[in-house]
Symmetry: C2
């Protein structure tokens, strides 16, 4: 796990172009975004990242703000010995990488092949200085992030494996575009494990157990059918 994580994220190398990792990333087109979370228009470039492509690294200057167009993104931190904690997944429509300070506190990678809209942070800050709603929107993005992470804390600090996986499935079910009870996980078991503070084996076993308990169904390892949402909610404590 450790070596794998370290290999996947070459966050030590520090080449960057337009604040984006060059490796495999290619600027696609200039496009108008529409609204920034429903309140303002802005300009940016859409960039495609391959699976596991690095978007930015911990400690890099945070010159850009990102929004997922398609695909999925994970942000994470590594301990010295390679243990990885994923702090969040970003799905289409989600904004990430917005910092108040100068630097990114995390690394960001594409979970799957992803299309990301990139906007200059300085442009947003300047806009916020003139328009109150924009300033408010930026603050809100940070606040929503905070709320999400705070909820994750209870999961990491006080829930057992079953409860963690249940919480994860319910979160995904509500966020992933999907059928009424079916959805597709964009991330691997390892990603889920590193998000929930478990090992890949425990996650896998828990999935199987939830299936045996008839709480879920797994047509494929990535496709989840919620058979008994109530059972999951109960686990969610």
């Amino acid at each position: 796990m450790l070596n794998q994580s370290l290999a996947e994220s070459s966050y030590l190398q520090n080449r960057s172009y337009l604040g984006l990792r060059d490796r495999n990333a290619s600027v696609k087109k200039q496009q108008s975004l529409g609204k920034l979370n429903g309140s303002l228009e802005m300009m940016g470039a859409t960039v495609d990242y391959p699976r596991n492509g690095e978007i930015y690294g911990e400690g890099e200057t945070a010159d850009y703000v990102y929004k997922v167009i398609s695909g999925a993104v994970r942000i994470y931190k590594l301990l010295d010995d390679g243990r990885r904690q994923i702090n969040g997944f970003y799905l289409p429509g989600d904004v990430f990488g917005l910092e108040v300070g100068r630097d990114h506190h995390f690394s960001a990678e594409a979970v799957s092949s992803s299309s990301i809209l990139i906007v200059k942070r300085s442009a947003l800050i300047a806009l916020a200085a003139r328009q109150n709603e924009v300033a408010n929107e930026l603050w809100s993005i940070t606040a929503r992030e905070l709320e999400h992470v705070q909820n994750l804390m209870i999961t990491l600090g006080r829930k057992n494996a079953h409860e963690r996986v249940a919480a994860f499935l319910l979160e995904m079910a509500s966020r992933v575009v999907c059928g009424k009870h079916t959805f597709e996980l964009p991330m691997s078991r390892q990603d889920i494990a590193d998000y929930l503070g478990l090992t890949i084996e425990t996650v896998s076993r828990t999935f199987t157990q939830l299936e045996q308990e008839a709480a879920i169904e797994l047509p494929t390892s990535r496709r989840v059918v919620l058979r008994n949402r109530n059972a999951l909610n109960k686990l969610n404590a």
Copy 2:
């Protein structure tokens, strides 16, 4: 533990006055705060809370913003069965309870007898609408909070008991006003356990072990002397 936690926080009762819990809390005086984190002046009232006094409860309307004058505060969430996760401790100078949305997402209690400055949120919001630096300051407070919680996530998700306690001690050493190597913990072992996602017994054992390893000294259960900061840093990974 469960019953104790539930008993300590009567967060179900919903009486409030001036957004403060009435029980044992008494308004002391009107006073000028000076600067809000070094950038603006404002008015507020100082209120004293007794040990374990409730400051606000999860789900209550967030009409006020709080700043610790003296003492210490914990914010936390409870699961249905009483498991408690403390998301943070606030020490003199720290601002807490600032929300972007209408409601508080957590409960807040005084860890020890505390003096808290209270300011109307609406006043701050109004001020922020006129002054950019204030808006920025509010955003920064939320962002610092986010950063702190994100760091805690690695601790909860990926560190063992020794590493968690070491991280905690180093955090406290840097935040508590103290001698060069000595400081006084304002919170109980139970609070520490609920902050680190451990049990009180594990925290206690780990303290003793760190003492045996000569990393720390414990003149009393609340007083900590850092004997070997390097050893703790190594544990901090």
